[in-house]
Symmetry: C2
Subunit: 263 residues, 2 copies
C-alpha cells in the first residue's frame, strides 16, 4: 500500500495462503496481482519481502530464492534476526541476496484490513549487517525502507535480538502475564492504564509463540533481569520502606519521560 501510493514499484505482487485475503488486498489497492503459489509470485520479482512468521521466514526465503530472477534481493520483516540471517547466509547461493530487516511498525492487529499506507512513516526499521552481508543489496534494502518513510538503524543480528528482547519481547511477555492473571470478576474495574499496558497482550498467539522461541535466549536473560527489578519492588513493599519505593519510582519516571522527549 505504501509502495503503491508512492508509485515506487511497477507492480506489487501479493503471495498468500488464502485467496480471500489476496482478493481483499487487491480491492484495497495494496497489490496489483495476488497468487497462492510462491513460484508464480516471485518469478519476475527483483525485490521480495518475506512477512511470514519468524519460524517460517528462512524456509520461505529459500523457496523464493529458487524461483526468483538472478540478482534478485530478498528481505523480511521478522521480529528476530539471528537464526534467520545465519541460516540464509549458510544456505543461500550467490544467485540472489538476502538482507535482514525488522520494521518497528504495526500493532497487535493483523490482516490486510488493518493495512495503512503510512504505517512506516517516521518509524524505525532495523536493517542487519554482518561481515557476509553483500554491500549493494544492503544499500538497496536501506533505501527501500527509507523510501517508505522509515528511519533505518543498522545493527548486527545479535545486537538486534538482544535489544528487541528488552524493547518488545519482554514487554509482550509482561503484558501477556498481566492479561492472563486478570480475574474475571475484576474486569468491571479495568481502566485505561490496564488497557494500554496490555494492548500487545492481544497479539496473535501463533506468531508470538514463534517469536518467543526464536529469541528464547535473550528473552530469558531479560526476564531474569525483570524479575530482579520486581524483587526490588517486593523488598521495598515488604519492609514498608518509602524511600526505596520512591527511588524505584523516580527511576521509572525519569526513564519513561526521556522516551517522550524523543518522539
Amino acid at each position: 500500500m505504501a509502495l503503491k501510493q508512492r508509485r515506487l514499484a511497477r507492480r506489487v505482487v501479493g503471495i498468500g495462503r488464502r485467496p480471500s485475503s489476496l482478493r481483499q488486498a487487491r480491492r484495497l489497492g495494496a497489490i496489483d496481482y495476488g497468487t497462492t503459489q510462491m513460484n508464480r509470485g516471485v518469478c519476475d520479482a527483483d525485490f521480495t519481502v518475506l512477512c511470514t512468521p519468524v519460524d517460517a521466514i528462512a524456509n520461505h526465503a529459500m523457496q523464493a530464492a529458487g524461483c526468483c530472477p538472478q540478482g534478485a534481493i530478498l528481505t523480511d520483516s521478522g521480529s528476530t534476526k539471528v537464526r534467520i540471517v545465519a541460516q540464509l547466509e549458510t544456505e543461500l547461493t550467490d544467485r540472489v541476496a538476502f538482507v535482514g530487516s525488522h520494521p518497528l511498525a504495526g500493532s497487535e492487529k493483523s490482516g490486510v484490513a488493518v493495512a495503512r499506507p503510512d504505517l512506516f512513516d517516521g518509524r524505525v526499521c532495523v536493517v542487519t549487517k554482518t561481515p557476509r552481508t553483500p554491500k549493494q543489496p544492503l544499500e538497496i534494502v536501506d533505501g527501500f525502507w527509507r523510501s517508505l518513510g522509515a528511519r533505518v538503524v543498522r545493527m548486527s543480528p545479535k545486537s538486534h535480538d538482544r535489544a528487541i528482547a528488552y524493547t518488545s519481547h519482554l514487554p509482550h511477555l509482561a503484558a501477556a502475564a498481566l492479561s492472563i492473571l486478570l480475574p474475571d470478576e475484576y474486569k468491571q474495574v479495568v481502566a485505561s492504564g490496564f488497557r494500554d499496558t496490555t494492548r500487545i497482550a492481544a497479539g496473535d498467539p501463533g506468531l508470538w509463540s514463534a517469536i518467543f522461541l526464536e529469541n528464547a535466549g535473550p528473552l530469558l536473560e531479560s526476564l531474569k533481569e525483570y524479575e530482579r527489578v520486581l524483587n526490588e519492588f517486593r523488598k521495598a513493599l515488604k519492609s514498608g520502606h518509602t524511600r526505596s519505593l520512591e527511588h524505584l519510582w523516580r527511576r521509572s519516571y525519569a526513564k519513561r519521560r526521556e522516551l517522550d522527549s524523543e518522539i
Copy 2:
C-alpha cells in the same frame, strides 16, 4: 471543570498549596475561587472532594470535617480505600459524613493544565459501602459521580483494594520495572508497543509510592501470582515447548480481547 460546564454547583472552590496552581485553575474555568487555607475553602461547602495523595486523604478529611458546615458530605478520589475509610469511620463525628470514592479516570499526567471537563464521561467510579456507611450520603455521592458522566460501581473497601491491585497497581509495578530495566543504548529501537505498555510508568513517583504502600498487602499478593505466570513462560521458553507457549498466548489473547468487546 465538569461541574462548572454542567452547571451543577453554585460555586466551586479550589483548595491547594500553590497559589499559582489556583490562579491557573481559575483562568481555566475549573474553579470560581481558590484558597490555600483549608478552613476558608470548606467553611461553606456542602460537598467536598479530597484529591490529595492517598496517605494524606484521611488526615485532610479530618481537618476539613472540623471546618465544614453541619451535614456536609465528604468524598475522595484515592486509588486505595481500606485504610482511609477505616480511619474516617473510626475518627469522624456524626456532624459530617464521609463516603469513599475512586473514579477510574485520569492518566500518568498531573496538574490543572491537563484537566478536562469530560474526564469522567463513561468511566467507572467505585463508591465504597460498608455496614457503617450512612445511606443518604452514599446516594448523594453516587449521584455526584453519575452527574459527571461516570458509571458507579459499589464495592466494599476490601474488594476494591484487592481488585485495583490487579487492574491498576500491579500493572503500574510491571510497567515501572520495564521502564527501569530499559538500557539506554536500546532506546533507539523502542516502538509503540513499549511506549503503550510503559505509559503509566511515568506516573508521579511520590503519588505512586504512597499508593503502593497503602495497598502493599493486596499488591504483594498479586505480585506473587504475577511471578507464578512469568515462571510458566520461563519454563515453556527453557524447554522449547511450543504448545505450552501457544497455550499461554491463547489465554492472554482471549482475555485481552474480551476487554475490547466490552469497551
